[in-house]
Amino acid sequence: MAATSFTLAGMYLKNRVLAASGTYGYGDECLDVADVTRLGGIVTKSLSLKPRAGNPPVRIAETAGGMLNSIGLANIGAHRFITEKLPFLRTVDTAVVVNIAASTVDEYCEVLSILDGEDGIDGFEINVSCPNVREGGLSFGTSCPAVAEITRRLRPLTRRPLIIKLTPNVTHISEFARAVEAEGADAVSVINTLIGMAVNVRTRAPVLSTVTGGLSGPAIKPVALAKVYETARAVRIPVIGIGGIASANDALEFLIAGASAVQVGTANFIDPAAGITIAAGINRYCDENGIEDVGELVGSLNVGAGVSVVDSWL
């Protein structure tokens, strides 16, 4: 039986599989069907300062091997989270990572400060795929200086692990990873959703009320894997791999490509116990392959000598 527990950016995790933000509520919805204590951790829905109602319907659309969402970060806000959700989460024996979203850098700081006063929180994940009101709604996440600034401002406010969750909708995600590493981030989560869209040809209107939305699910796994590989080679801080993970095999691809841990998102909608099954499958793989610690897999990709990535003309 391979060793599974480890410390990620100073945070103890019993295994390398977490539930991704926005795909597991606040960890209290799936108890009938999933023993959440067998997850490495739970990342909460993004919390903003005030509660957010979210976007009008339609918020989701199925696509080939994936789905689009434009939830609009509907959430109960930091204060209600503390009073209504955190007490329960404190009783659950798994790591709790609180994900934070905001529309100004100050709001990020305020939300984090409010939450940092509470115990029962193992780490913070910062969702930078949010519209920056100062920039007319352009996402923070696609501006390297903005992402760096958020990290710089947040870093001194907490001694807990600070994880920056990067968006894939940029040319070189490794630049962003390097920037936040330089600002003292403890880890990066890669990736958030890809920008996508669907049209209803009957009505000739967008399917989503917001026209575009975030693409997730198995369809994006190859893109996520490439982004994780690019990021893991660029920084020393751990990379948390996210994107289309639905099986142990998928998770193993991410670990081998350089992810220290993974998050399972969309797969929870099909099976809320997906993360647990995946964690078990990773162990089975290790046992079958004589791997004594899952950590041995991380970044173990053997890239043939002769091969040059550059020569790959797409």
């Binding site: 926005g22 795909t23 597991y24 509520g25 919805e29 799936c30 009938d32 069907v33 829905k45 109602a53 979210g54 976007n55 009008p56 319907p57 339609v58 918020r59 989701i60 659309a61 199925e62 080939a64 091997g65 994936g66 789905m67 969402n69 939830i71 509907a74 699910g217 198995p218 369809a219 639905a246 969309t266 929870n268 909608f269 099909i270 099976d271 809320p272 116990a273």
Partner: protein, 255 residues
């Protein structure tokens, strides 16, 4: 709520483009309540990716039946299932109809199209408790009327090919405005426009009314926030169709 892998007992045609699929699920059969739904994984792979939500149509021992229209990939695939196939089913899910007496004596059931789906088990559940059940069902045409297992339904068709020529809401309102039973309560299920109309006349006639909504769902269990239902009132607030519904008191939501 639980996930079960259930053998398919069979699929039969029940109208044009309409099928009834049965699965063996003691768990769901014994716990499901009228208006609750199950979320069905159509195929083991990625196509389609998400589960498909369906009301429970009939319970017979440990057999659970759903009735559905073929409208897309998922329902088409379900219509091709055969006895012995295995389906992965999540349920029972959602808030059932509020049938607990004594806040009413006569139950008025209104079903549009396959909105009839939850009415048979609702009828069975109501029978012991209520004084009378009035059932109104409507469809585009006679071929799409599914009248089984209902308390002698009055029928409306858009094209007049069976029963009343018009919508089921017109039929119900006409009938009820002539003579309204004592302490009535409306239970309605069907397409959104129909439910909007039902809710409107429930207000006009001041009758308590519960509607069962339908719309796209991501998870069916409250973790994706993908199924907003706008709440009545000043500030924009949403309930979740899958968790706070699919059955709602028609007055608390904006249909």
């Amino acid at each position: 709520m639980r996930i079960e892998t259930c053998p398919v007992t069979g699929v039969r045609r029940a109208g044009d483009g309409i099928f009834v699929l049965g699965i063996t699920s003691p768990g769901i059969a014994s716990t499901i309540r009228p208006g609750q739904f199950i979320n069905v994984r159509v195929e083991p792979g990625n196509d389609p990716l998400l589960r498909r939500p369906f009301s429970v149509y009939r319970i017979d021992g440990s057999t659970v039946e759903i009735i559905f229209n073929v409208v897309g990939r998922g329902t088409a695939a379900l219509s091709h299932k055969r006895g012995g196939d295995i389906l992965d089913v999540l349920g029972p899910l959602g808030v059932p109809f509020g049938i607990a007496a004594p806040d009413y004596e006569t139950a008025i059931l209104i079903g549009g199209g396959l909105g009839v789906a939850p009415l048979p088990i609702l009828t069975d559940a109501l029978r012991p408790g209520v004084r009378a059940i009035l059932t109104f069902i409507g469809a585009r045409n006679a071929k799409q009327i599914v009248r089984d297992h209902l308390a002698d339904p009055r029928i409306a068709t858009d094209d007049g090919s069976a029963g009343f020529h018009g919508t089921v809401v017109q039929l119900a309102e006409e009938t009820l405005s002539r003579n309204m039973p004592r302490r009535p309560k409306i239970f309605a299920c069907g397409p959104t426009p129909m439910l909007r109309a039902v809710a409107a006349f429930a207000v006009r006639l001041d009758v308590p009314c519960e509607v069962s909504l339908e719309g796209p769902m991501g998870c069916g269990i409250g973790i994706c926030q993908g199924c907003p239902v706008e709440l009545a009132g000043e500030e924009k607030r949403y309930a979740l169709m899958c968790k706070d519904g699919p059955v709602f008191d028609s007055r608390i939501i904006r249909i």
